[in-house]
Each structure stands twice: as structure tokens, then as C-alpha cells.
Symmetry: C2
Subunit: 139 residues, 2 copies
């Protein structure tokens, strides 16, 4: 199942969009998210791997968006954050061989899982990071 | 988050569809699902409340589908099984008042949650129980 890593990753991406070309580091993000820096670094490393966050090493290093917010979709963030976990899963009860339904339930649910993921990703592809930024009240 | 109650409810509905007008009871379903009858009864009572399963009391009582399988959608089962739980949730970290992103993240994720639920329900509405039954190998 998809846990709260998606919403936390969205928050990180929005924070980076807010800061523009100004580099941020994991401690700053951890403060914003009220969580620990190690967890933030894990989330960030996935966003970097996905090519939507850029990381600069060294003393003056930090991270920023790798693309402009209108070119980053929520699907990009979803794929990075969920690591192929799905929104719905089949239960893991052992198969009852005497029951024809039990024998095919994994297959049946598997198809529904694929359908839900495809539909969700299509929806998220059309939502861009810059649209979310309209909700931010600038100081 | 939506747990495995959805897939278990789908399995119950498929078992009832397989048995047609022949009444089933929670013990039979619990055997099929390799789980306990109390848990099955909880799932069943939601399906009854949703109007897609019919319950008959008494010694010769039991349950069966309340409608024909082509008139039962996966959305009906989803709504009954999930009890308004959503596929994605916002993290519950406290708001950092100094951060404008932290202040609006619940609102931002809330909109995405609504979008994903609507898209998913639309997808599930078009999938009917009789379609799933085509996967069942009849003995």
C-alpha cells in the first residue's frame, strides 16, 4: 500500500519550487516537515533518481528542482515516492484448492490493481507542480 | 488507507455469485477465505447495508446476492468495503507555521485525494461482478 511518503514527497517538491534556485538541504526540509533528516534524505534520493531533483555536493551544496515546476507532474512524484507499491493489494490468504474462486482471486484482483494504477497515473500526469503552487500564500 | 478488506469482499461477492440462489453462511465463506467467521460477518454486514447482499435469518438462513451479478459494480463493493477510507492520505505531521507550504499541504493533498477517489470510482463503476466471474474455471 502507498503510505504517507507520497504526501511528504509532494511537500518537499513544493518547498523546492518555493525556493527556486536557492539550494535547500535535508535539515531545512526536515524542520519544515517536522521529521528527521535521515528520512528526508531517503525521500530526496528517490526524487533525485527520478530526475526531478538535482543534488549538489560540497559545503555550499544542497538540492533544487531539476526542471521547472510546470514540467514536473504528480505522476513523476508518485512513481518516485511509491517505489512500485500499489494503492490496492490482494489479501495474502492461502488458496483453498476446493474453491474455484479462491484459485483465481489473485488474478482477478491483479487486473483491478493494474486498472486502478493506470487510471490514477493518467490523472496524476495531468496535475503539474506549478498548479499546486497556486495554493501557496506568498508572504 | 484501503486495506485488504476490498479484495476479501470481492472474493465473498464472487463466491455468492458462484452459488447463485443457494444460500451460503459465514462459516462456509470463512473456510473459503481461510479467515475467521467473525471477520467475515463484519464484511458481510457492510455488503448487506450497501444493498448488494441479502441476508435471511433462521435455521435455514444464510446470504446470497441481492441483485444479479451484471447489476453489481466493483464501485458498490469498494464503497461497502472501504467505509470512506481513501487510497491515499496526507501525512499527519504538525504544521510548521513559519513555512507557507506546510500551511497548505493538507488542502493540496486533500484535493489530490478527492481526484484519485473520483477517478478510481469511475473506473470501478464500469467493472461488473459478472465480468469477474468469467475468470472462474467451472468444475
Amino acid at each position: 500500500m502507498v503510505d504517507t511518503r507520497f504526501s511528504m514527497s509532494v511537500q518537499i517538491m513544493m518547498s523546492l519550487a518555493y525556493h527556486g534556485d536557492e539550494l535547500m538541504n535535508s535539515d531545512q526540509l526536515a524542520k519544515t516537515l517536522k521529521t528527521n533528516a535521515t528520512f528526508v534524505r531517503k525521500l530526496v534520493s528517490r526524487l533525485v533518481e527520478a530526475g526531478i531533483v538535482q543534488s549538489f555536493r560540497g559545503k555550499a551544496g544542497g538540492i533544487k528542482l531539476a526542471k521547472s515546476p510546470q514540467d514536473i507532474s504528480l505522476k513523476d512524484i508518485y512513481l518516485a515516492a511509491t517505489c512500485e507499491k500499489t494503492l490496492i493489494n490482494c489479501h495474502k490468504k492461502p488458496i483453498n484448492k476446493a474453491c474455484p474462486i479462491s484459485g483465481c482471486i489473485e488474478d482477478v484482483i491483479g487486473e483491478i490493481v493494474v486498472g486502478i494504477e493506470e487510471t490514477t497515473k493518467k490523472y496524476l500526469l495531468n496535475k503539474k507542480l506549478d498548479q499546486l503552487m497556486k495554493k501557496v500564500q506568498h508572504k
